[in-house]
Symmetry: C2
Subunit: 446 residues, 2 copies
């Protein structure tokens, strides 16, 4: 069966890597959180490999960890996404630039405006990772003692999206005529005042930015709850999801694509991109050694705290070099706890090893030769587990260089990934149409 | 008397110029609102002339003008300041980058974070023009039917500043040790949790950005009310002010510097920079011709609306080529009205000419040869009318090129302006000290 679909690849980035031990890995750049030259290197290498997008993770607080764990981690501080991606837009030409922004702790006028501005700056490469912010610590930085409840966050998010989308459509694509002779700068018939009044938001408009190059910047969703999947099916262009196995990935894929069918949206108008942690070796054994070596850099202070949080039980008193004893049931998230218990059992890990895995990274991973990794990616694509991946690098820069230099060429040889960009915008890369402006296109152009 | 003080020069920018007719001036770039290459040209030319800062004007709404006036103007849309200045930081090395941000319609955690991020990106060149946003239309874009009353805006602004400043001090300058051997990424004794609870704001912190390169980005204030002058004296590093005459400038200068004396702040820790609209000619006559020619590009629709708003009286029914008749008193701002009436009388302008002046620009201007302009700037400096200027260009790019190529060399010849940057940060350019972190420096270093 010919495989005509190709993979879409995003790079899910933190400047020093998402893995808590990565900053200590030999050759790492531990100062990357505020070193623009390093970020420039990463994005330019990813662009040379024709990645769809550079995707900046984000938080609105220093993570709530015991200070003894937090002090071991590179995560507390880094560049803010809008400022960083705007700067990166200048040193790149094609790769998409996706920033995380919260519907719970920001204003739709600001969000619509910044993404539209980034889209103009970058020639149509902006994407918005729409999150509702599940971290209750963020609330304390924004004047709220109580974090908004989950379903209410999603109801606000849905309305917030509608407002942002409406603001992006404030001006028709050809509103600005700039006729120096007559003195007409814009055609007033092509200006739309949104005048939104809803349960959560009241926003008049119009936006003080011309319609984005892409019509609307790409919208990415990351929620996997019922509410999250539904808002994704209704609004998103891409979904970034955590799926630990191909079986789980296929269920998620069928679920979300089915929602598109029921909404009358074409299936290929929403790309599903699970996160995948890629460790490349010249042999399978070497890759596994690298993977294990990386975990040794997770400090016990950090690993034990993460494991205790995941289990809802303080494990610091146990023998770290022994197996995990029976742990009584607690109030901790049952799914997180179950995943950790399965990991301990399946891999036969000591408590220390388990702590290092949980404190570092314990989701979907592909560890092996370039051919092994390409095999797995191909299987996910062919069996409809995904439309591609958001790649996470175990350490930087070497883990990224390995993917760019070894995995991508293997995917290209198999016809599974582009050898050159065929379009200029992020929508082009993702195979998404440029949306019309509903306020004008029908009336004016029909 | 030797003049040892030098001028500080900022460039107060809108992409197409602040003058409503400028986009129609021969040689103008009317598409500059979304043309990054043009903005890059402007900032690089200003850096070549050693300007202290590139200062981006901003609004949080499309200006509230009758649509027939609005459609004549280049002002409704342009790049958003944070995204634009972040991009410009990549193509410059020394010039300061000042963005406007509102304390009324944004959150201190966001504001502290973005300026800190811009400061890290630019190597210490960020500045915050702290505004309380007087435009009531902005309120409608942020869920408020009523605009916050003036004095309350300023009380909130004062608290907002304290929070932002506290967040910038979240980490000591040397908090991040990144010791790969021991696995210590930061020293927890050098992390400060703000825990602010005040009348308007409640913000826990810490900020998820390392202490800015400048310690704190430069803070610029633009208010000229009593509350505005007092908050400037208490918090600002620079004041951007509108002063139409040297006499008024000297009164303002003495007033604000006097407030510094009473607060125990050194006088030179706050730079006062009035806006000045500069039109350069090879002769005085040629400069005045350019100035008059520019006004002819203000469309009647635009000029008449502006004049009517300024007078609080519809002038559209009058003979535009005749003098302004007696206008009854109204509810319009008395100072604005008075200034317009004086302008009409002093210059003997017809209603059309007056409308074009008011619709274009009618504040402090310096129109003449490079020597004329340098004479005026020198007089303001020597007589303590200002510490320099925020220069406004009548049209772009030629008006900017004239200042860079002709006025700045004249100032340099007179020893009134730097020939090369002597420092790397905006604080360096403005002659401002780098602030210590009060949470740590005394306790830890004393």
């Amino acid at each position: 069966m010919p495989q005509s679909r190709q993979l879409h690849l995003g790079a899910f980035m933190r400047p020093v890597s998402l893995h808590t031990g990565a900053w200590r890995y030999p050759g790492a750049w531990p100062d990357a959180n505020f070193n623009f030259a390093h970020l420039k290197y990463f994005v330019q290498r990813l662009e040379s490999a024709c990645f769809d997008a550079f995707f900046m993770a984000d938080h609105l607080a220093v993570l709530n960890m015991p200070i003894n764990a937090l002090k071991r981690s590179q995560t507390p501080t880094s560049f803010e996404p809008f400022t960083l991606l705007s700067a990166l837009s200048v040193v790149t030409e094609r790769i998409g630039l996706v920033a995380t922004a919260s519907t719970t702790f920001d204003e739709p006028y600001h969000i619509a405006r910044r993404f539209a501005s980034l889209d103009h700056l970058s020639g149509g490469r902006a994407g918005w990772n729409l999150v509702t912010t599940s971290n209750p610590d963020a609330a304390l930085n924004f004047g709220r003692d109580d974090h908004m409840e989950h379903d209410e966050r999603y109801r606000r998010a849905r309305e917030f999206y509608d407002v942002v989308r409406g603001l992006w459509d404030s001006w028709d694509d050809d509103a600005f005529v700039r006729d120096t002779q007559s003195g007409l700068f814009f055609d007033p018939d092509k200006l739309h005042v949104l005048d939104h009044k809803g349960p959560y938001l009241s926003v008049r408009g119009p936006l003080n930015i011309a319609r984005p190059i892409q019509g609307r910047p790409v919208v990415v969703q990351a929620g996997s709850s019922e509410a999250g999947k539904q808002i994704a099916a209704e609004t998103a262009d891409a979904v970034f999801t955590a799926q630990s196995t191909l079986a789980a990935g296929k269920r998620f894929y069928a679920d979300v694509k089915g929602r598109l069918d029921r909404l009358g949206r074409p299936r290929d108008h929403l790309k599903i991109l699970p996160g995948a942690f890629i460790v490349v070796g010249d042999s399978r054994e070497q890759a596994q050694e690298k993977r294990a070596f990386l975990d040794t850099f997770v400090h016990d202070d950090s690993g034990i705290a993460s494991l205790s949080i995941a289990l809802g039980h303080d494990v610091s008193g146990f023998d770290l070099d022994g197996p995990l004893p029976e742990i009584p049931e607690t109030n901790a998230s049952q799914s997180a706890r179950q995943r950790v218990l399965e990991l301990a059992r399946d891999k036969g890990l000591t408590i220390r090893q388990l702590a290092q895995r949980v404190g570092g990274y314990s989701g979907l991973e592909m560890v092996g030769t370039p051919a092994d990794i390409a095999d797995q990616m191909e299987q996910w694509l062919v069996e409809e587990g995904s439309d591609g991946f958001n790649v996470m690098f175990p350490y930087l820069p070497a883990g990224l260089d390995d993917v760019v230099d070894k995995v991508v060429p293997e995917l290209q040889r198999r016809g599974l990934f582009r050898r050159a960009y065929t379009g200029t915008t992020l929508r082009d890369h993702l195979g998404l149409p440029r949306p019309d402006n509903p306020f004008f296109s029908k009336a004016v152009r029909a």
